[in-house]
Amino acid sequence: MSEIIESVKNLSIGFNSQKGKQISILRNVSTNIKKGETVGIVGESGSGKSTLALAMMGYIKQGLFPLKGQCLFKSEDLLKMSSRQLEKIRGRKIAMIPQNAGQALTPNLKIGYQIDEALRLHTDLNKTERDKKISELLNKVRLPSPETMAFRYPHELSGGQQQRVAVAMALAGKPDLLLLDEPTTGLDVTTQAHVLELLRFIAKDTGTSMIYVSHDLGAIAQVSDRIVVMYAGEIVLEGPARKILKEPIHPYTYGLLKSIPKLSLAGLPASMPGSQPQPGSINEGCSFYDRCNLATDHCKKNSPDLEHIKELDTNVRCFNHKELINQNNNLQTSITKKSNNSEAIEVLKLKDVSISYAKQKFFDQLFNKISDQNPTVKDINIDIKKGETIALVGESGSGKSTILKSIAGLLKTKDGQIKFENDRILSSDLKMRNPNDLRAIQLIFQNPDESLNPNHTVEQILSQPLKLYFNLSGEELKKNIIDLLKKVRLGEFYMSRYPRQLSGGEKQRVAVARAFAAKPDIILCDEVTSALDVSVQAAVLNLLQQLKEDLGTTYVFVSHDLAVVRAISDRVAVLYQGRLCEIGPSQNVYKFPSHPYTEVLLGAVLEPDPDIKPKLVAEDIVEEKPPEKGCSFQGRCPRKIGDICNLEVPPWQIGENGNAIRCHINIDELASLQQ
């Protein structure tokens, strides 16, 4: 048995509410971190996972304080140490890698200097040794040309590179324990897979123990040896990664795994009802009682203790866990969608659409001309049928949101036409569109915190479109609002609430209701689930699908998450650098042959399964702007065949199963290459 380097014993952390009540955020948490082990702490927002991780390096956020328990690092209690003593431990023994490295690095210091700072603080090396060490560290985190890299400023690096610098800084003090707080959350899928691969390599190479905090079971599955699942401030399940992911015997973990959309499955994931209880609202009984479908009266009154299951080497906090043993086959199921009618007419056509962010020159401005030979988005041709869900997929900078904005009329197109219903051209200027067209196309945004006016009640929010488009007032307005709330499964009493009084999922439901208030034909969904927790995400996806089936709405669904897209969409369009790469029915896009970029994206998806490892086929370079000539993916393509890719725009080829691919490689050849 290897040495335990940090152990948390019965730790409770809480705060005093305004009414003077003591409210705990962490309740009786105990766990051990062994040497060389990577522990994944997973939970939804508000589960206390970050609080626990920070306490493990002796840091407690302002306003919180430890109620009881200990955090023993090599048998010394971190929570009792003075800040002087903690300084000696942080950085040298325990180092942290923050979520957003872009914000954690000082913007006006070169990265070499910032790493040097860490070295000066934590080691006794002299100047030349330190310089050598810096390039060694930069090499270790696989940054290209470490010598010149050290002289760059943080803003000159891409998000993934910044994250690597943060890893290098954390490694500078040769820590025994690395703390990672959602280190890949803000990154693109391919970058995320690369960073995770690096972290796994470092853990193995240096023997450092890691605590990996994330909401993303996919990422956790890739790096962790052991997983701790947190819910409402408690550990509900703890054990070896494989056991937790393959045989989850706690109903929360089980539900969580079921609610993650999977690449291999068509159809929507099952959702869990309700949301996590607020801290302080749990009085007696199991904290998961309200959302559990195994719950009995016994669970309502008594709160379960963490119980050790010998055969699985797992600790579980549930009375009824036996019912979940051998249920793992059910994990791979999903709710099938009603397929839409393929004969349907086209409602929206994008014809040769190009969009440019370039600033107009003075003379061009006079003649209202946009001169940009290499626009951000170019030659987009998509026909959208009534009642279908078409998804635009791509990494950040692929122009997917840009296209959405110009359909909504928020961005002017440079070239091309957007045709709506019976080939009527929609003006690219919002002010020139008639009110009925404005009504017919509605938007739902990524972050409901930003898309709902914080100073309006739900009633006011929903009455805006109703008043504007249908001139409703008084009794009729109220009736309509209640109907809308019912549609998104919220009760009437939500009317007088403010957005801040709602949970993330409830807020997004209100945003959905607002879009449907206009009785739209097309709804543009801009990353609508990426700000939500997994279990809530599944519920929102199911709601959107239900509403679509009931009302026949058409969705244009923008997302970076291929698994979510797989779950909800009928057709998928893959974009790279504002150019279409592939388009086709979703079940076929996810099958080979596919465009090399789709192949890269599919390979980088993280599944909550330790047996499915991401395939890293392309470099995670970030390209600033699209190439002027040739294929848009030429810079990163793992299957590039030569000059033709740099010079000529590839032709569209249509595969046997109906998906169109834009590549110079013959589609049959591509199929055999990707076998």
Binding site: G409, I441, N455, H456
Partner: protein, 297 residues
């Protein structure tokens, strides 16, 4: 009928909210002191004509420069007028003029700032440069010019002060609008096709109101000082109307032997300014605008 109930309910909520803000303001000593001072001054201004012991303009050579006594609590001035009477009456004009002056400043500065922040572009550029140009003119000189041309009546002073103190509010309102404008709920309203007026009224004002109100409260105290400076220079209200600035100006030559006639109006003026400042600070904190009070959790 039921919709009426809803609006009533909402109004009640607004009143409750206002009370709650007042409660939060009073929960800290500085806020409580500020509120007490301002309340004291406002009540005094309302009731002073009825409680003043003497006639404020009665000149009497027999009672010149008397020291404070039981009969004349704050003594008398060089013309034999009772300083206590004149001090409690002296805040009335200042309070009224500056209150309505700040209201005007808030209205035009706030609305123009919000408008510029929303439309942006060339209109914003032009308006902001004009505002900058006005900001570069020393306001007191400009005020002196206006007052000497148009007279010192309150009808002139209120809009003139309102204009000069509104320039700063334009900037604050514009900056606050810029914070809000990037949010998706504005984009959403735009995409729905709401007019600019409707966006300003429904989406922006509820979100910038607090910042502008706090700024307005601060401006009020500055305007009070400005107004008193004008009076001090002889360009404010005209004698014999009792006014703190004017009283200080008249009595400052006699400071060495009749200090009481100067100290009373000074205490009146500075206590009101301090009171307003403390109240504005507490107001900002109660609304959560002040960063230092934001919960770090």
């Amino acid at each position: 009928m039921e919709s009426n109930l809803i609006t009533e309910d909402k109004q009640k909520n607004k009143l409750e909210k206002a009370l709650e803000i007042l409660k939060t303001m009073a929960s800290k000593p500085s806020g409580l002191i500020g509120l007490t001072i301002v309340l004291f001054h406002v009540i005094l201004a309302l009731i002073s004509p009825y409680i003043a012991p003497y006639d404020y303009k009665a000149i009497s050579p027999n009672t010149m420069l008397l020291a404070p006594s039981a009969e004349h609590w704050f003594g008398t001035d060089s013309l034999g007028r009772d300083v206590f009477t004149r001090t409690i009456l002296g805040g009335r004009t200042a309070l009224t003029v500056t209150f309505f002056g700040s209201l005007i400043a808030l209205l035009w500065g706030g609305l123009l700032g919000i408008f510029c922040g929303l439309v942006g572009g060339k209109i914003d550029d032009v308006v902001m440069r004009v505002v900058d140009a006005f900001l570069s003119i020393p306001w007191i000189l400009a005020m002196l010019l206006i007052v000497s041309l148009l007279g010192t009546s309150t009808e002139v002073l209120i809009p003139a002060l309102g204009f000069f103190y509104g320039k700063g509010i334009v900037r604050v309102a514009r900056a606050a609008t810029h914070d809000v404008i990037a949010k998706d709920f504005i984009v959403s309203a735009r995409a729905r096709g709401h007019s600019n007026m409707s966006i300003i009224w429904n989406e922006i004002i509820p979100n910038v109101r607090d910042a502008i109100l706090v700024e307005g409260a601060m401006r009020w105290s500055w305007m009070l000082l400005g107004f008193s400076s004008l009076s001090f220079l002889g360009f404010g209200v005209s004698p014999p109307t009792p006014d703190w600035g004017l009283m200080i100006s008249n009595a400052r030559g006699l400071m060495s032997f009749a200090y009481w006639s100067v100290i009373a109006p000074i205490v009146g003026l500075s206590s009101l300014i301090i009171g307003i400042n403390l109240t504005a600070d507490a107001f900002a904190k109660a609304l959560g605008i002040d960063r230092s009070t934001k919960a770090p959790v």
